[in-house]
Amino acid sequence: MRKYRLILAVLGLVALVVSGCFVATGQVLVEFGLTSPFTIDSTTDPFARIFVDLNTIPDYSKHKDSLKGLNDFALIGKFTNLSGPAGALEMWVTPGSTNYTTVAEVQANATKLWGPGTIGAAPDVHVVTWDESSKLFTQAGKDILIHEAKGDGDFTIYAFGTAGSYRVKVEDGFLILVVSAGP
């Protein structure tokens, strides 16, 4: 009798794992490196447009077909205010590849993803940490990322300042996604 109970328990566990149950999932780090450095300048180049194709990341491609959700998201990097007052940066996102040409156009058609990430007056240097960054993303932006991560993995991010005048250099910028993946 005891033997049958053990067999039943083992069979149950195997069934859970094989069926793709929540028990068999794990959290996988996916990192996307941004162009480094890039500069956003309110007078000449007011925003940076970043085409993200997650399919270029081996960790993503490996788990793409078994993605269950997005656990965490962050944008980290070293931000240097080259000139101008203290201000803030924001990131907006659109599904797929888009090519908006003004900040107003981005704000009218994209969804705010992250921010505001603050930076002091020039020549302030601010390294945005993972903890700090994770608190700054919006639910609406996160929903788009989840949808895109589960879809074709292709989206566009726009970064710009909120102060009237800014010139900010971003170095070692990375998008970090923690995705749930399972069988």
Binding site: F22, T25, G26, G69, W130, D131, S134, G182
Partner: protein, 186 residues
């Protein structure tokens, strides 16, 4: 709603065990190590808590618990930056059912359900947790103390989905003290 259902489940488990014959109630404390399983963004930490084993019928003990675990930080080198993500702190309560075998030296598989809160910067979620493990207990003669060592796997559902979870393996040691016994032992 989820919290309420966990409370009801815990209460039902406890009540299910209560009406039978000889019963005992104890209180215990435990502590140990908590290791994240397949979590690339979370580190190992420690945990401690309180258990209230209610034993009513032979083989079955229902045990409400409270647990608090501190996750370890996770570091990663990206470009020229070294970044750190704070570990996930867990606070939870629930109830396990233990199926005990043996006499003074006991072996018991157990399973249970709880409500666990996960916290770190950017994360504040309370969801359902499932527990599964095995334990060894030793009850020295005469004294009302018993010593326990357990290995356990906790799966805490991700917020808003039943398709994925975070998991921890933990090894704990604890001591329980017998509070009540029905009928009283002479």
């Amino acid at each position: 709603m989820k919290r309420l259902s966990v409370w009801i489940a815990a209460l039902a488990l406890t009540c299910w065990a209560l009406p039978a014959g000889a019963a005992s109630v104890a209180v215990g404390v435990f502590g140990g190590a908590s290791v994240p399983v397949a979590q690339e963004d979370n580190g190992s930490g420690s945990e401690f808590g309180i258990r209230v084993p209610v034993s009513v019928i032979p083989l079955v003990t229902v045990e409400p618990y409270f647990v608090k675990a501190n996750g370890g930080d996770k570091s990663e080198d990206l470009g020229n930056l070294s970044i750190t993500r704070s570990g996930i702190d867990v606070t939870g309560y629930g109830a396990n059912v233990l199926f005990t075998f043996g006499g003074p030296m006991q072996f018991y598989p157990f399973a249970g359900i709880g409500s666990h809160k996960l916290e770190r910067p950017g994360l504040d979620a309370t969801t359902t947790a499932y527990n599964l493990g095995i334990g060894l207990g030793f009850k020295p003669p005469i004294v009302k103390l018993s010593i326990h060592v357990r290995g356990e796997l906790n799966a805490v559902l991700d917020e808003g989905t039943t398709e994925s979870s975070r998991k921890w393996a933990s090894i704990t040691a604890g001591v329980s003290y017998g509070l009540l016994s029905f009928p009283p032992v002479p």
